[in-house]
Every structure is written in C-alpha cells, then in structure tokens.
Amino acid sequence: MVELTRGGKSPLLLANPVIAAAGVLGFDGQAYRDLLDISKLGAWVTSPLSWKPRGVVRGARLVPLPSGVLLHTGLPNPGLRRVLQRYAPAWQRSPAPVIAHVIASDPHTVERCAVALDETEGVAALELGLHDRATAEEIAQVVRAALSHTQRPILVRVPLYRAVEAAQAAEQAGAGGVVVAGPPRGTARDPLSGRLVGGRMYGPWLKAQTLRAVGQVVRAVGVPVTACGGVHAPSDARDFLDAGAVAVQVGTVAWVQPRMLEIIARNLGGLELTRANGALADEWEPGLGQTMLRERQRRQPPPPPTTPPPKPPDLPR
C-alpha cells in the first residue's frame, strides 16, 4: 500500500501509486469509461469543486503549443451542492477511491465544502487546490479550515513556481500530504482570433520542471509527496518515484492516449514490492542506461601486469 498522507485521523492508503489528476475524469469519473478501467488506478481526483457555481470563461480557451497546449476554462462547475446531488452516488460506487478537489479560494468556502464532503460517503480524501499567489498565511488558513471540519485526510496541491514554500506552509498547518504541482500559467496568441490569451500549460516538457520541484519539496517536508505534471509514460512515473515521490497524478496524456493512464498504473503496480527489496532503478526497467554501465564495469579487461614489459625497440616518438 502507498501512504499518501501521514498523521491525522486517518491516513490515505492506496493500492497503486498512479492517480488520475483533477479534471481528467470529470465529476463522476466516467469520462473515459469505455477506454479505461479505473479500478486499475490507485485513485482519481474529481474536477475542481467550489461552494458556489462557476461559469465558463468567454473567448479562446485552447491554444496549441510546441509539444503541448495552453488551456483556459475558469474552473467551471455547478457548485458543490449540485455536484453532490448528481455525482455522490457515483462516488460511492466507484471502483477506485475518490479524492475531491476543492478550489481553496478562501477559508470560509473551504470550510463549507469540508463540512459537506465530510458528510458524503465515498470521499476518500480532500485535495485543496491553491491559487498561484497563495501566501503562507492564506495556506495555513485554508488547511486549518479544512482540518477542523472534516475527518478526511487532507492533501494540498501547491503551485509549481512556489512549490517549496507552499508545501512547507501546508505541512506546518497540518496537511497530511502535498501534491507537486499545479500546472504553470502562460500566455499565448490564439491563432484563430489573433488575441493573446492566458491559461494553464500542459505538455511532456512540463515533467522536467515538476521533477525538479518534487526533488526540492521531498527534501523540504516530512509528509508524503505526490508528483503531478508531465507524466506521459511509465518511465516518467518511475522517475518521480526515484526522486522521492510516493505516487503520481496523471493528466493530459489522457487526451492523446486515454489508455496510457491504465498502462502506467499497471506498470507501476508491482513497484512497491520490488523497491522494498532494494532493487536499483534499472532492474525493474531493463534497458535503462545504468545497466549498460554496470555491464561494462563487469567485463573490464584484466588490469595490466604491474611490471611493464621490456621496452620495445623503435618506438615512434
């Protein structure tokens, strides 16, 4: 079992370290129902929830980037009460644990959401989504608001650019675990309208930025770290575990290859055991470069004899 949160009234334990990220499977987890067996996943995170309904933004929303996209939607959702009416029954039936993503805009809203979700069956944990500029004080407030109104484990998703500071603030306020990181925001020119638009950025190159942030956060906090951002293949997921994460959330690769979520989950399913035996990275992934290096070290030619041979005649100078 993978322990996603530490301490608190109940830890979040998952059978598999691979999780569908917020927004990927919608509110009911059914988005790719014909393409993906979610019982193979460790858990899935709901689309972001707020107490009040949020509408969709106007204007361009999707701009292609080299090897990626920029997407702007504005976190549309019908408000928590309606989401619970419509989708809580699906959560109870879900074959994988459900983590509810709460938009952590202010302590009061978080409090209301926490109360409502605490009473809802089928919610394994809460993930608090921080906005990009949340200060340590704001983070402390929303985490405490959640902790004092629910028994569920609390994960905090921190922004990429301030991952270490935000994760430390979340840990100090009592969060059971952190998710590194929310995707960065960018600005791009929409090729259709000719306008500059802002939005979140997604793509496989995001992995390197996230991997660095994960490595830093793992060293800075004591609670378990879940990696999120740029996982597009099993090898990406393993790199994050190598860097000290206990689990990974997987997102936009579903757009390209929906089944990849399941492939990553299957591939990493047996990982815990192997790692516990002290195996090296490339022993559970034959073909990683280190194997060849060790191979080479094994078949080094015998060392030269310690006394040099007699100096041969007419050696060129």
């Binding site: 499977l25 919608g26 988005a31 999707l62 090897s67 997407l71 259709l192 757009w255 390209v256 089944r259």
Partner: protein, 247 residues
C-alpha cells in the same frame, strides 16, 4: 467512444484548400451518423507533436471505408496507421417531416454538411447550400449534383434570406470557430424576428467545431456559451441556437 486503428488508403488533394483521405476502418466505424467525427493521431507519435488529436470529419461512409476531408495540415501518406477515437459527437438532429434543408457555410469549407447532405438527398429531401465569403472557394464538383448551390459574387441579401428562411424546414449554419458568435448571432436574430420569437426546436442550429482536447466532455476546451453546460465534443457539433447565449 471506442479506440480503434485505421489505415490511410489514399490521399487526394482535390483543390488548393481541400484534401481528401480514404481510410480503411474497423466495422464499428461504419455506423457513424452525419455529424459524428473521428478523433485521430498517428499511431507512432513518439514525439508528442502535434500534441492533440485532430478532429477528422467524414464526408462519406461506406462499408469498411471512411472518406474524410479537410484543409491540408500536415503530411499524411498512404499506409500510415492512425489511432482513432470515435464516435466524437452526436448525429445532427433532423426535424420531423423534413423536406427543405437549408445549409449556410460562411468563410468555412462546407465539409461538415456533406455526409448529411448525401444521406438526406437519398431520402428525398431538397437541399440548398449557401456558400459565402471564403466558402465560395470550395470546389463545386465535390458536391452531390442534387444540391442547389447559391454561390454568387454578390452578398446574400435580405429578400433572398427571407425567402430561404421561409422555404426551409430546418437551417444549419457553419462558420470558422473564431466567428461563431458573430455569424450565428445575427442569423438567429433574423430568424427569431421573422418567426416572431417563436422558433421551433432544432429549427436553426450552428455547427460548433472548437479546437478540442479531451473529446469526452470534461476538459472544457469546447464549451459552448449557454445557460446549461454544453460541450461541442459530446453535445455537438449541431447546437440549437435557441440554447446559445450570444454576447
């Protein structure tokens, strides 16, 4: 929605702007209804470029074969294998007792009308296609000969509009995605005025082809401005303009 593989059989450049690709598909894909499309990427896309799947729109569906049509974007060659998610979207809803179908394409290739037109012509429906702006560059020889085409130099004037909107039992409008609001809004307003704000359901629909990411209604990339949540990928491409919130 299913994931299958398809094979490119032929690539024809039918004009400077239009490419037709013949695909060999699995039997499941033969049940595509007019309006439904394919969400495609090369099978061997090791380099994540382009990142997103492309939406390919069928113009003809016969057993084992789908012909898609579009503007040439990247290089495709016969023999290329494709990963296909399908069907994307709903069949275009047709009004009961449909006899006169009016199709309006403004600045956009009328490709999304072709599968529908072929099908309803077979059922005896009269189809008129209005090509405006850039849409006039579409090669006429690609159209079924039964379609009446209004394809003049001149703009489409108010008396003609009234005539057509009165003649038609159903109207479908198409524009490029950046101009939906500006094209669909005035057409809807005109029809609403004509009909004294008593427009029947599905009488006039806009086709919505926003760039898509997930194709399954969750990511919000293709949300149509409306009171309820309408996503073009699952509720479209044809959306009753009564439901749309124009700015």
């Amino acid at each position: 929605m299913r994931e299958t593989q398809a094979l490119i059989e032929r690539v024809r450049r039918v004009s400077a702007d239009v490419l037709q690709i013949d695909l060999t598909v699995e039997p499941a894909l033969m049940h595509l209804e007019p309006g439904q499309s394919l969400f495609v990427r090369p099978v061997d896309q090791a380099d994540w470029q382009p990142y997103l799947r492309e939406q390919w729109i069928p113009v003809d569906v016969t057993p084992g074969r789908v012909v898609v049509e579009g503007a040439p974007t990247r290089f495709y060659a016969p023999g290329d294998a494709l990963s296909v998610l399908s069907p994307v979207g709903r069949a275009i809803p047709l009004r009961p007792k449909l006899l006169h179908l009016l199709l309006i394409a403004e600045d956009a290739l009328p490709t999304p009308f072709m599968h529908l037109a072929r099908k309803v012509i077979g059922g005896g429906v009269e189809v008129t296609l209005v090509l405006r702006g850039e849409a006039r560059r579409y090669p006429l020889e690609l159209l079924p000969p039964e379609i009446e085409v209004l394809h003049g130099e001149a703009d489409w004037r108010w008396p003609e509009q009234v005539e057509m909107f009165t003649w038609a039992d159903q109207v479908l409008v198409l524009a490029p995605s950046y101009a939906y609001m500006e094209v669909y809004g005035p057409i809807y307003a005109t029809i609403a005025q004509l009909r004294q704000h008593n427009v029947p359901d599905d009488f006039v629909s806009g086709l919505f082809y926003y760039p898509m990411a997930c194709g399954v209604g969750v990511c919000g990339a293709c949300l149509v401005p409306a009171r309820q949540r309408i996503t073009a990928c699952t509720d479209g491409p044809a959306i009753d303009l009564k439901q749309v919130r124009f700015p």
